[in-house]
């Protein structure tokens, strides 16, 4: 039973219902709309990003639906990104961010998790300068401010 998704740049994507329903947003929309065959517009997602998202959902179509866990201390779990997912996430940064935002909008929690873990892995272990370089961020602190913050948070960096 195929479903048609329409990206923001008006490209149609035909996917199986099962695949589309990995997105809770789409799942809910389908439930509301019922048996209608009309395509589902996704104004916040471009075709390029939607292609990637669909690729992810296709690959994970048989995964068990995740029970929402209490995410209070998931720091330990940051290491475990599957091989396929890791390769999937090897895209340029802009696409990475877009995938995360799309996963958030479409409510695809596993993809969102993987995306955020990937970003976290980029940030991890880097000095502030390295982080700035990685994300092309401007340092808008004055040297005094920066020194002060460094002093304030020194205790945290020792652990």
């Amino acid at each position: 039973m195929p479903v048609i998704l329409v990206s923001s740049d008006n490209q149609d994507f035909k996917v199986d219902k099962e695949v589309a329903e990995r997105s809770i947003l789409i799942k809910n929309m389908l439930e509301d709309v019922g048996e209608s065959d009309s395509p589902i517009p996704l104004p916040n997602v471009t075709a390029a990003v939607l292609t990637k998202v669909i690729e992810y959902c296709e690959h994970h179509r048989n995964d068990p639906v995740q029970v929402p866990e209490e995410t209070d201390d998931p720091r330990k779990r940051s290491n475990d990104i599957e091989e396929w997912d890791m390769k999937f996430m090897q895209v340029d940064q802009e696409m990475l961010f877009e995938i995360i935002l799309a996963a958030n909008y479409l409510d695809i929690k596993p993809l969102l998790d993987v995306g955020c873990k990937t970003v976290a892995n980029i940030i991890k272990g880097k000095t502030p300068e390295e982080i700035r370089k990685a994300f092309n961020i401007v340092n808008d602190f004055t040297p005094e401010e920066e020194a002060q913050i460094k002093k304030e948070n020194e205790w945290a960096e020792d652990r």
Partner: protein
């Protein structure tokens, strides 16, 4: 990582403007714009990384600082003692640009001075970031420090105090100040807590209270303890759902041994449905060489039962290590707490097999059962399988008087079983993988015809109960036809994901005799040698084959071959944790390689017998660091 671009990004303070290509608009969307995504990303970062992140830019500072401070761990630094009074007159500001915060929580002058001269940077940081702290673990802090915390951490929700001695006054002040926000209080290994319950009455929002491994004054020993201390606290904290008192030591040496010098613990205020109660017998007063078993303090049964009457909606109850609990009170439990779904009764010395059976009969909706370290019988397991049809988790570690037949009863009948732990039980063998029926047919318990060969692996109609207690002297001819021609499938094969077996030994003679007897009746040809090997490998494999969802497995035995086990698993590559306790021959690096690369690539935790396996261990560590886990 993207290649460096020659364009200098626009210097717009406080915003993230990565310039990507010349054709793209300069503002790009990033996940950091959305608070919920910030939280998700930050949750994967450790503390040093968060500290670095706060220095990246102003925007990042405001995003990540809350996460840095949300869970704070404070340690008392020895140099801070006794500094406060000296600097009373002058209040130097440590860094010129940041002045003391006079709006909001007000520190006293003494506290200001103390803070300024403190070398504890995290403590100092509380001046500005105190309100960001939600959870605080404070190790060995002094009263002064506690005072500062109580003023500055206005949103404190979880407080854990480790070590240190605290007076009633300090605690009262702390709890009075933070009465609306604190939800959880934990005392661990504290040296002297006199009247620990009184200050708690200020915490109207208290949900969880834990007192672990601490020395308390002797008010807890008074027979009026409950009326004077505990009940008022329950009244003052209507949201309280859990109290845990464990390993509480009474300082007063004059307590009679064996008297009820305990803190038992239980919980569940009246509000909300259900709650959690944990009762653990702590060691008794003062002895240095406390042996938990010999000197276990006891809460009298009557007291336990009375306490439980205050929590009729309880759904989880743990009454472990109890030396006083008997069958009689357990039988009345169902009238006091009728809604229990999770029950833990490990190390219950006085409870007999009949007692357990009565409990299971009275709680047909039990989902989770822990009766480890008890003396059971196969009949207990059969009763459990018969009465608790929704059972999902079962723990019978280190139980005695259990045989293959009892285990079989569980596996063949509990349809929803997800987790089954039977470690350290002696005397079990590969026969538990089989299907041995010895029921007296007159009891009519084995009903329905056994599934034929072709139906064996399809979903079968509700399996007849298989009971093996009361072995008849001989099986009648009539009942022979009801014997399953082939082993019936395990009822839990579609749900079992965690399975922890003990070391499999050789089958004991009685069970072996029954097995052979059954085989003979079924007309299976036995080789002339009655001591032939049991084809245990096939048995084990065919059972494991049927387990659809197994993720955590513990298995071992002196005649067990690793490849047999893994070949048998239906989907070994889904295994997440594997513990091998004993094997026929020691593992080689080749075994390890096959295991890690081919058979179970998604393995996250592996335990193997360390002894004599040095080269394998090193190989695995090199190949997959962190995979090998160690038993605690």
């Amino acid at each position: 990582m993207e290649p460096p671009f020659p364009i200098t990004p626009l210097r717009v303070p406080g915003s993230l403007k990565p310039a990507l290509t010349q054709t793209q608009p300069t503002s790009t969307r990033t996940p950091f714009m959305l608070p919920e995504l910030d939280r998700l990303i930050a949750s994967h970062l450790d503390r040093p990384t968060l500290a670095s992140a706060t220095r990246v830019s102003k925007q990042w500072h405001s995003i990540f600082t809350p996460f840095l401070w949300k869970r704070l761990s404070l340690q008392h630094l020895a140099e801070d003692d006794d500094d406060s009074d000296e600097d009373f007159a002058s209040i130097p500001t440590a860094s010129g640009t940041i002045t003391a915060n006079t709006v909001g929580p007000k520190l006293t002058l003494a506290q200001h001075a103390f803070l300024n001269s403190s070398r504890n940077k995290a403590l100092k940081g509380l001046r500005h970031f105190g309100p960001l702290v939600h959870e605080l673990t404070a190790t060995g802090i002094t009263d002064q420090e506690m005072g500062v915390i109580s003023v500055l951490c206005t949103n404190l929700r979880v407080l854990e105090l480790i070590g240190g001695r605290y007076s009633v006054d300090n605690l009262t002040e702390l709890f009075q100040r933070r009465q609306g926000s604190i939800q959880t209080v934990r005392f661990r290994s504290c040296v002297l807590l006199q009247d620990v319950f009184r200050p708690l009455v200020h915490l109207s929002n208290l949900r969880e209270f834990e007192l672990y491994g601490s020395f308390v004054g002797n008010t807890i020993t008074s027979p009026y303890f409950f009326e004077r201390e505990l009940i008022p606290m329950l009244g003052a904290c209507p949201r309280l759902r859990s109290i845990l008192l464990e390993k509480v030591y009474i300082v007063d040496q004059q307590i009679e041994r064996g008297g009820w010098d305990t803190g038992g613990g239980w919980g569940g205020g009246g509000g909300g449905g259900g709650g959690y109660a944990a009762l653990s017998a702590p060691a008794s007063a003062g002895e240095q060489d406390t042996n938990d078993d010999a000197n276990c303090g006891e809460i009298p049964e009557s007291v336990i039962m009375t306490m439980l009457t205050y929590t009729p909606k309880l759904d989880q109850l743990a009454l472990n290590w109890s030396r006083e609990l008997t069958d009689f009170s357990l039988s009345s439990l169902q009238y006091i707490c009728p809604h229990l779904t999770q029950l833990s009764l490990s190390h219950s010395m006085m409870v007999t097999a009949e007692g357990f059976m009565a409990v299971f009969r009275s709680y047909p909706s039990l989902i989770s059962v822990d009766i480890g370290y008890n003396i059971l019988s196969d009949a207990v397991l059969e009763e459990l399988a018969r009465s608790c049809r929704s059972l999902r988790q079962l723990n019978i570690n280190s139980c005695q008087n259990v045989s293959d037949l009892g285990i079989q009863a569980i596996l063949l009948n509990c349809t929803h079983l997800e987790s089954f732990s039977l470690r350290f039980i002696t005397g079990l063998s590969c026969l538990l993988f089989n299907d041995i029926v010895t029921t007296d047919s007159s009891m009519g318990l084995v009903s329905g015809s056994p599934p034929s060969f072709s139906k064996l692996f399809s979903s079968s109609p509700p399996s007849p109960f298989s009971f093996s207690s009361s072995p008849p002297s001989s099986l009648s001819f009539a009942s022979r036809s009801r014997l399953p021609f082939s082993p019936r499938p395990w009822a839990c094969r579609e749900t079992l994901h965690t399975f922890h077996l003990p070391d499999l030994a050789s089958p004991n003679k009685t069970t072996l005799a029954k097995y052979y007897h059954q085989q003979t009746l079924l007309g299976h040809r036995l080789d002339s040698d009655p001591l032939q090997p049991l084809r245990s490998d096939e048995m084990i494999q065919s059972r494991l084959q049927q387990l659809d969802k197994v993720k955590n497995l513990t298995i071992g035995g002196h005649s067990l071959d690793l490849t047999i086990v893994l070949d048998g698993l239906h989907r070994p590559y889904e295994l997440e944790s594997l513990r091998i306790t004993k094997l026929k021959r020691t593992m080689t690096c080749q075994d390890a390689q096959w295991l890690v690369d081919v058979a179970a690539p998604n393995l996250q935790k592996l335990f193997i017998p360390m002894f004599g396996n040095r080269s394998v261990t090193e190989w695995i560590e090199a190949r997959r660091p962190g995979l090998l886990a160690h038993e605690k």
